[in-house]
């Protein structure tokens, strides 16, 4: 430890003002503060002590909450690969290895490109590198299909970080969730690689899929022309409720398992890092609207409406989106009352889009982005009510 410290102190002058690599100071600073919490102390005025929390720890907590999804996702990519290619005897290790082979490059590209851009902007603007991208960099791979070409990951990451974040001033200033923007970009720019045909969701390594394997997602199936009982159709495609809940189904890398997402949600809620209000109200919103459609279905030929409401909570990326993207404190509503409304509408909109818009089988992406845009408006009304209370008090006093 002494050695590390001494080495850092020795090279530090090179990066400080007047040093040879002065311009690269933010990069040095990011590295140094990764190793050591700096020796900065509180100022002479103001609080003399500070809470042990910092943004790094906050972000790491979110990343930890995503680890179950990541690990399960890697296994599932391998698992689906072997089912699709007809090798039912593959071992756990083989599945994980295949999964890692597919997933890790996506993670590396996401972090490499994203952090590279963050460093570039930090150096240009002369501020230190903010930690916000640590979370975004993990979110992006988890919401990509396993077959996504790496160059698309790079382009989407660059687009999202620059257009959704840096243009607005960097961490803390963005209006849209950065990772969701990356996904939306790919979805509209390269729709063929993001949805539609079933081979998007399964990594086959160029091998032929066996005939019995459909590779369809639950959402794709429910939105297509299923006539009659949707649940039976799902069961027939080995997409039972339990399969969907545990997540042994094709889909984006980290989103398939509602169980793993729940573990993540538990971590976020217990640590107080994610807003339980948003998570709860979003699930309630999706469920209530699902129930409402059940009631309204009647003789409608949209059989998706008859899908039991609880299926909506575990199909597709809704659980992942609610727990990890809707709770992003920067782009969410910021008042406590506002969070209830914001969450509820995300859940409700997701189901609405799923059921009534066949062009977009998954609604969570658009729901989150749409509510990101409306979050400031929700806050505006909540805060306006606070101002009115204050004003009313004044008028009462004057009267």
């Amino acid at each position: 430890m002494k050695f590390l410290r001494n080495t850092l102190d020795k090279v530090k002058p090179l990066f400080e003002k007047g040093g040879k690599y002065e311009k690269l100071y933010p990069a040095y600073d990011a590295f140094e503060t990764f190793l050591f919490v700096p020796n900065h102390t509180t100022s002479a005025k103001g609080v003399q002590v500070r809470d042990a929390i910092d943004l790094k720890r906050l972000m790491m907590t979110v990343i930890l909450a995503m680890v179950p999804c990541l690990l399960f996702g890697m296994w599932n990519v391998g698992h689906q690969h072997f089912i699709a290619t007809g090798n039912v005897d593959a071992t756990l290790m083989e599945k994980i290895l295949i999964g890692a082979w597919v997933v890790l490059p996506i993670v590396i590209v996401s972090y490499g490109v994203g952090l590279g851009i963050e460093f570039f902007f930090a150096v240009r603007k002369g501020h230190s590198v903010e930690e916000g991208y640590l979370v975004t960099g993990m979110l992006i791979p988890l919401i990509m299909p396993p077959t996504i070409p790496l160059w698309q990951v790079a382009v989407a990451t660059a687009f999202a970080v620059i257009v959704a974040k840096e243009v607005f001033g960097g961490t803390g200033m963005n209006i849209l969730n950065v990772a969701m923007t990356a996904r939306a970009f790919l979805y509209f720019a390269y729709p063929g690689d993001m949805a539609g045909s079933s081979d998007v969701w399964v990594y086959t390594d160029g091998k032929e899929m066996v005939d019995s394997y459909t590779g369809a997602t639950a959402l794709g199936l429910a939105a297509s022309d299923v006539s009659g009982n949707v649940v039976m159709a799902l069961d027939a495609a080995s997409l039972s409720f339990m399969d969907l809940f545990i997540g042994i189904v094709p889909g984006s890398i980290g989103e398939t398992s509602a169980l793993m997402v729940l573990i993540g949600a538990f971590i976020l809620i217990v640590t107080g890092v994610g807003s339980w209000r948003i998570i709860l109200s979003a699930f309630v919103g999706a469920w209530v609207v699902g129930l409402m459609f059940n009631g309204l279905a009647g003789n409608s030929d949209n059989y998706f409406m008859t899908l039991p409401a609880h299926y909506h909570l575990i199909m597709g990326g809704i659980a992942f989106g609610i727990v990890f993207m809707a709770t992003d404190p920067v782009s969410a509503a910021q008042t406590e009352t506002g969070k209830w409304i914001y969450g509820f509408l995300i859940g409700a909109l997701t189901v609405l889009i799923r059921v009534f818009n066949p062009a977009y089988p998954e609604g969570i992406m658009l729901a989150v982005l749409l509510m990101n845009v409306f979050a400031p408006l929700i806050d505006y009304f909540v805060i306006d009510a606070n101002k009115r209370r204050r004003l009313k008090r004044l008028k009462l006093n004057a009267a």
Partner: protein, 450 residues
């Protein structure tokens, strides 16, 4: 009224003052710092280095509020007048006499006080030096005598970390406290509110002529701003004055004994003090003699006041005017390998993010140092400020309106109801390590000038 506060956070620290009062250690010098009073426009110093003064001799006044005289806390020789930019006086230092002499003011019996006029009371308060014990809200300024406050609030508990126990400090002082209240009655047509801690505050239970309230819950329950907000909130155009039991005591002594007696019992506390206890001293006392031979280590921070709202001072620095304690804690000027991620039960945190385990044993007293534990970052709204501010106020939005210099928004969001101390916990828990109290003061100054 019984108030129950649930939002907030008690920072439990090692080194609480034991209930023992030291009388025989006294400071050599006493300082008066005009910088203790926000909003002073142009302080005009009335003494020169080398002058001798009595306790109660005017040292300076502010041209913006001329009637208020700031006077010497002790008698002795003015040994130093420190000045800053544009000769703004920073500190007036007095070498104290062994036996103090006092300027004489009119003394009254307890029953006579009731018959005094507002004018008579005002003139004695303004010229003697006790007036700055009153604080005017909005903005936390030295009150203007021509203002009439709608009410006067006194918090009879200090809930800050390691704060002195008022039951100990003011035991036996009931008659002075009562006289102080009788005097304050003359200043307002409204009520005088005094709030004690539930189940404590026996010293204050028998005071007459006041509305009594009880409050329970974590810090900032003891902050008078929180109490005002729940009992009779401040609206635009209104004035509320506040003071502390120390203020009552000094006002009481002025009218009963006829002198400005700035004697106060203060706590010396913190993990680096060998024997944390109480000292009977005077306003502006120098710290030096109290900590001599009484420290556990060298690398320490001396603080005038508590760890949330106090200010860093040198070892021979002095007690701020409205402060009631010295804190001594370790300086945090060290690097910590992977300190941002390693699990710890040792570090104090309001948060429960990964590895911050102090919430598992909330009652345990801990040692805290002055390390920033991170670096300044952009505001990330994590909803945590709201959890430590028991008021119907949106702190982040108020802070943002100040940063945007939006006067109407600051007003609408309730800036008149808060001063720095009310936002100190927000500053403590802040992930982005911003200077919330300083920002709030900037907002108040901007509004004052507008």
């Amino acid at each position: 009224m019984k108030l129950k506060i649930s939002k907030g956070f008690d920072i439990k620290l090692v080194g609480k003052a034991l209930p023992e009062l030291v009388q025989d250690i006294q400071s050599d010098t006493y300082s008066f710092k005009p910088t203790d009073f926000p909003g002073l426009a142009r302080p005009k110093v009335l003494v020169n280095e080398g002058d001798t003064v009595k306790a109660g001799t005017p040292l300076f006044f502010d041209k913006w509020n001329e009637q208020v005289k700031f006077t010497a806390p002790v008698s002795g020789e003015v040994v130093e007048i420190k000045r800053g930019a544009r000769r703004y006086p920073l500190e007036i230092k007095i070498l104290a006499d062994k036996v103090l002499t006092y300027e004489s003011f009119t003394s009254h019996s307890a029953s006579e006080i009731a018959n005094l006029s507002r004018e008579a009371v005002l003139s004695q308060l303004l010229t003697s030096g006790v007036w700055p014990n009153l604080v005017e809200r909005p903005f936390g300024l030295v009150p203007k005598p021509e203002h009439k406050p709608k009410a006067i609030f006194i918090s009879a508990l200090d809930s800050h970390p390691l704060a002195p126990d008022y039951d100990f400090v003011f035991s036996g002082e009931e008659n002075y406290l009562q006289a102080g209240i009788d005097v304050l009655q003359k200043l307002t047509d409204g009520k005088i509110h005094i709030t004690t801690s539930s189940g404590k505050g026996s010293v204050f239970k028998n005071l007459q002529g006041v509305e009594k309230h009880e409050i329970s819950g974590p810090h900032p329950a003891g902050n008078v701003g929180v109490q005002i907000h729940h009992i009779d909130p401040i609206n635009k155009g209104e004035f509320v004055w506040t003071t502390t039991p120390y203020g009552l005591q000094q006002i009481g002594r002025l009218f009963l004994d006829g002198k400005y007696d700035s004697r106060k019992v203060v706590a010396l506390a913190g993990s680096e003090v060998k024997k944390p206890q109480y000292y009977s001293t005077y306003s502006g006392a120098s710290l030096k003699n109290f900590v001599e031979g009484n420290l556990k280590s060298d690398n320490v921070r001396f603080i005038s006041g508590n760890v949330l709202t106090g200010a860093k001072i040198d070892q021979d620095g002095s007690l701020g005017f409205n402060q009631n304690m010295f804190s001594v804690i370790p300086e945090g000027n060290h690097h910590e390998l992977f300190g941002w991620i390693l699990p710890t039960t040792r570090k104090v945190s309001f948060h429960k993010a990964f590895g911050l385990l102090s919430f598992l044993s909330p009652a345990k007293e801990r040692v805290i140092d002055t390390n920033l534990h991170g670096e300044e970052r952009a505001i990330v709204q994590s909803g945590v400020f709201e959890q430590v501010l028991p008021m119907d106020i949106y702190p982040v939005h108020l802070i943002k309106s100040i940063l945007a210099n939006d006067f109407e928004e600051m007003e609408a969001l309730g800036i008149y109801e808060v001063i720095e101390e009310d936002f100190a916990l927000c500053e403590f828990v802040d992930v982005s390590k911003m200077h919330i109290q300083a920002i709030l003061r900037e907002g108040m100054e901007a509004l004052q000038e507008a």
